[in-house]
């Protein structure tokens, strides 16, 4: 299937309306201002090239979040060897949403580049976006049991980080 792109004025409107939240998301996932800017540029290029599905998206914001997330994770994979991540508190003026497990969210964001691609997506959905397993299952097109199993594996992967004492206590 071939998608057409959005017009420049449509992209400008997307940027005006959703830009601050998407930029914050890029900074949060990448923890690097330059990479975050690159991710936004790539998102704009993607919208100009094949952004047509955004017009029919049930939630344009969610569509944009997934698009910018793919770009960000790709940048993260490409640049991980030379990257020095900024502290999470420095890149997130908004903080976690109510109901999101703060420790799990921090563990995911800090370990994001060490996770497998499938784990990254699910970890973001469950522990950063605070989605339910059912919501994640719907979006990923798998059963909730599968999501639950993967979530437990993910928790196992992250457990060491979650159980590690804070640096201040260790030093």
């Amino acid at each position: 299937m071939i998608f057409r792109g959005l017009t420049a004025s449509e992209v400008s409107e997307v940027y005006r309306r959703y830009g601050p939240l998407l930029e914050r998301r890029c900074r949060l996932l990448l923890r690097d201002d330059v990479l975050a800017e690159d991710a936004l540029h790539e998102l704009c290029a993607t919208l100009l090239r094949r952004g047509e599905p955004l017009r029919d998206a049930a939630s344009p914001f969610r569509w944009l979040c997934r698009a910018v997330e793919r770009t960000s994770l790709d940048l993260l994979r490409r640049r991980k060897r030379v990257r020095e991540a900024l502290p999470i508190d420095d890149v997130d003026a908004l903080g976690p949403a109510p109901g999101v497990d703060v420790d799990a969210r921090r563990a995911v964001l800090e370990a994001l580049d060490a996770l497998l691609p499938d784990q990254q997506t699910l970890a973001i959905m469950l522990f950063v976006d605070g989605m339910t397993q059912s919501e994640a299952a719907d979006e990923l097109g798998v059963s909730r049991v599968t999501v639950n199993k993967r979530a437990q594996e993910l928790r196992g992967t992250l457990r060491l980080r979650l159980e590690e004492p804070p640096e201040e206590a260790a030093s």
């Binding site: 792109g5 420049a8 992209v11 400008s12 940027y15 005006r16 309306r17 959703y18 830009g19 601050p20 939240l21 930029e23 914050r24 201002d33 800017e37 936004l40 540029h41 790539e42 998102l43 704009c44 290029a45 993607t46 919208l47 100009l48 090239r49 939630s59 344009p60 914001f61 969610r62 979040c65 793919r70 770009t71 790709d74 994979r77 490409r78 003026a93 908004l94 903080g95 976690p96 949403a97 109510p98 109901g99 999101v100 497990d101 799990a104 469950l126 522990f127 976006d129 605070g130 989605m131 339910t132 397993q133 059912s134 919501e135 909730r144 049991v145 639950n148 979530a151 437990q152 928790r155």
Partner: protein, 253 residues
């Protein structure tokens, strides 16, 4: 039978709040009855939404959009330029193959039409395995030139590759010297469809050397490196075992 999940349905058991995505969407003006109803009665979520509405951009819109449009223009130019020759060749091939169909091999024994007709009958499904287009940008004392064929170099030149992909795929790019040296320009990574410039560039030093730029799937590139012909030559601009190549030749002073 499947064991019932023991994990809570939301990461935190106390949470009945909408997801962060829903709250942020609401802050951006996307109304959902469920979220509206919740936010009206929840101080924490109302506070989160209020804070989300105060976020401002660090990257100016003009810069992001301008950069994206330049990127897109470059990509289209590259695809047009690189698609033109193969399309013309394909059109010529179609004309060439269609014409002999009206004449039998018996009426023109020994003519050049025999082989193409036989090929067309034996291999009716023509597939195009493209997907990777290669160009190189040479920086010479600040002046940049782009090449899709052989690039001639002299000491001090810098080379950077430009790779256009028609789909997301893992690629690796580098320069293979005739002396067997290998300089990586694009590390192995999965890259989206679009035009990518190499993260690294190669600087030509005083030592006279020729080489070949290789771009393709990591396994194919490694195979091509191992199987390079003894004279160091690769078919320029062709897909050698799935790898795009481009010759680098020393320019006589």
């Amino acid at each position: 039978m499947t064991q019932a999940p023991t994990e809570p349905t939301r990461p935190t058991p106390t949470s009945s709040h909408p997801s962060a995505l829903d709250l942020e969407a609401f802050a951006a003006g996307e109304d959902s009855p469920r979220v509206v109803a919740h936010v009206e009665g929840c101080d924490a979520c109302r506070g989160f939404v209020a804070r989300a509405k105060t976020l401002t951009m660090r990257t100016p819109m003009d810069r992001a959009l301008g950069e994206a449009r330049r990127h897109e223009t470059r990509r289209r130019f590259t695809l047009l330029a690189s698609a033109g020759v193969p399309l013309a060749a394909a059109a010529a091939a179609v004309l060439f193959l269609r014409a002999p169909l009206t004449t039998t091999t018996a009426t023109t024994p020994g003519s050049a039409s025999v082989a193409p007709v036989a090929l067309a009958e034996n291999d009716p499904d023509t597939t195009f395995k493209g997907g990777v287009q290669l160009a190189v940008v040479r920086d010479r004392t600040g002046a940049q030139d782009r090449f899709v064929g052989t690039v001639r170099v002299r000491p001090g030149d810098r080379l950077r590759v430009e790779v256009a992909l028609d789909r997301s795929q893992a690629i690796l790019a580098g320069v293979l010297g005739d002396d067997g040296s290998w300089v990586e320009l694009m590390p192995e990574a999965i890259r989206d469809a679009g035009t990518h410039f190499s993260e690294k560039s190669v600087r030509i030093d005083e030592h006279r050397a020729n080489g070949t730029i290789l771009v393709g799937a990591p396994a194919d590139v490694k195979r091509a490196r191992d199987g390079k012909q003894p004279n160091g030559k690769q078919p320029n601009g062709k897909r050698a075992d799935g790898v795009r190549t481009l010759s680098v030749e020393w320019e006589a002073p």
